[in-house]
Symmetry: C2
Subunit: 102 residues, 2 copies
């Protein structure tokens, strides 16, 4: 079975971007990455300061939903959502493109 | 130097999602992936049908901007923007997390 991809875009005031990266890192390290079905994740900070985006691979949508029901990361995520808005997305890969220089 | 990451989220009517994937694939195959500094890209379709997201790595922001000035992919991108809205983002990696099962 193909993994599901979560691409979650957080919009934030640039003054709060570093704090948001810290909160999402804590939530991931203390809880999310230990959940069944978690495969990998990369956290990105936008160069303009206004966004933070988590790109994560999960074994299945069910594994991801089960993690979301776990209260452990809640304090970090609650604080994150006080300083940011959140646009979630659940995807499958449509195409991959390699570069001549890759 | 670290690569820059482009995460571009397109919002689309579910009936047009397949066409949007085709247009972005054509634009990438015919032009974008041959541009200097292109490293790799993955195109994603959301499971709810409402989004298509391109995740791409470029050697530098300058290489990406130079590609955007190239008119070759314009017809595909113009048609894409007739059926979708586009939220661009330029990022650097903040953190990577590996799963125990990865």
């Amino acid at each position: 079975m193909s993994p599901v991809i979560l691409i979650n875009v957080f919009t934030v005031a640039p003054a709060d971007q570093t704090r948001l990266v810290e909160l999402l890192t804590r939530a991931t390290e203390t809880s999310v990455q230990h959940a069944p079905g978690f495969l990998s994740a990369t956290l990105h900070r936008s160069l303009d300061g206004a966004k933070v985006t988590m790109y994560a691979q999960w074994r299945s949508a069910e594994d991801y939903q089960a993690m979301r029901a776990d209260p452990t990361p809640a304090p970090y995520l609650q604080e994150a959502l006080q300083i940011a808005t959140f646009e979630p997305g659940m995807y499958e890969v449509a195409e991959r493109f390699g570069g001549a220089e890759a």
